[in-house]
Amino acid sequence: MAKGDSVDAIEEVVRAGMYPYWDADLQRATPSAFTAAEVSVSRLAILDFAQIVSIFKSDFNGRVHPDGESMKVRSTGRATVANIIQQAEEPMNDKNKSLPNVVLTVVEDKIENESGATDNPAHALICGWSRENPTQSRKISRGVANRLLDVFRWEPLPD
């Protein structure tokens, strides 16, 4: 499988629940975890969960100022590729039956020998594309991102 190839719909991917996206005191997350045009996930078909978490920790915790002890990766969420893509194929809401203006794909994006990043052969991207022009990259709308937040089943990581 080459970079940019679609990941199989039945595969499950993992997303790191990083400190800026998760308020532990309020037990609340933000859809902003999914609003970029490209969102990092890792494929459980390539590496097991413990290996993926180890990469998350190495990548995120390593970018925190040494005083930022409280900011480590605290949770992860998992979802199937089919379920992720489906979130942009549901009508906006009960009143507005039109589809969101974004289409989602999940593609392979292996990280290898990249400066400042831990190698991650399981790395993949959730990509947003314009529904009108599917070759044009587009930020994932917050409504769709809010659905993705629900779809990923978030679980705390043990210390």
Binding site: M18, A29, A36, D59, H65
Partner: protein, 202 residues
């Protein structure tokens, strides 16, 4: 890591209250409609009049390791000086601590395109609360991969309302109606408050 920036390393400037009198008295009425506790008008006005003092290095807006380091350097000087009293009151001490922690994140914290905190976003966040006096219960403070400050809260029906403070506007999302969009400039704050106050038809 300990950084000390000399005065010659930094550009210091004042950002005045940008939105004097643009939203003023309508805030109280809207707050009643929203059932959102609101800072008293005098406090909000003081915060607005005082303005927000931003201390920023000339290179701090670039997305580089260096800019991250410089922003971390701001921690030595107390990040809370960047934020209006009204914004501090809205997010509380826990929220302020989270915001301070965001300054510790370096570029790449969530993959290749992710950025350190955007100081102009902090400025808009600060001005928004100073101008509107909005004070939702249990306001959560977050940061987007673009480095923007994000806040959210639950409405009376437990549905999410979220605002992302862009360098030149506010992106909003109201889960109850599914509505989302972006407001720009000074008029945007009052428009956004009106939008938040609009009843949603069943």
């Amino acid at each position: 890591m300990h950084l000390t920036l000399s005065m010659s390393d930094r550009l210091q400037y004042h950002v005045p209250g940008l939105f004097y009198g643009t939203v003023g008295s309508s805030m109280i009425a809207i707050a009643h409609l929203l059932a959102i506790p609101m800072a008293n008008a005098a406090e909000a006005q003081r915060s607005t009049s005082r303005g927000v003092i931003i201390v920023e290095c000339a290179t701090a807006t670039s997305n580089t390791q260096q800019s991250s380091t410089i922003k971390v350097g701001l921690l030595q000087e107390d990040v809370s000086t960047l934020i209006s009293d009204a914004a501090k009151a809205a997010i509380g001490t826990t929220g302020l601590k989270r915001l301070e922690n965001f300054f510790r994140l370096q570029a790449g914290w969530d993959g290749k395109g992710s950025k350190p905190i955007e100081l102009k976003s902090v400025e808009v966040f600060s001005s928004f609360f100073a101008e509107t006096g909005l004070r939702p219960n249990q306001l959560g403070v977050f940061m987007s991969a673009q480095g923007n400050v994000v806040v959210n809260w639950l409405d009376q029906e437990g549905q999410l309302v979220e605002l992302e403070f862009l360098p030149s506007g506010v992106e909003y999302f109201i889960a109850k109606s599914g509505e989302e969009g972006t407001t720009m400039g000074d008029i945007g704050f009052s428009k956004l408050l009106n939008r938040l106050a609009e009843p949603v038809e069943a």
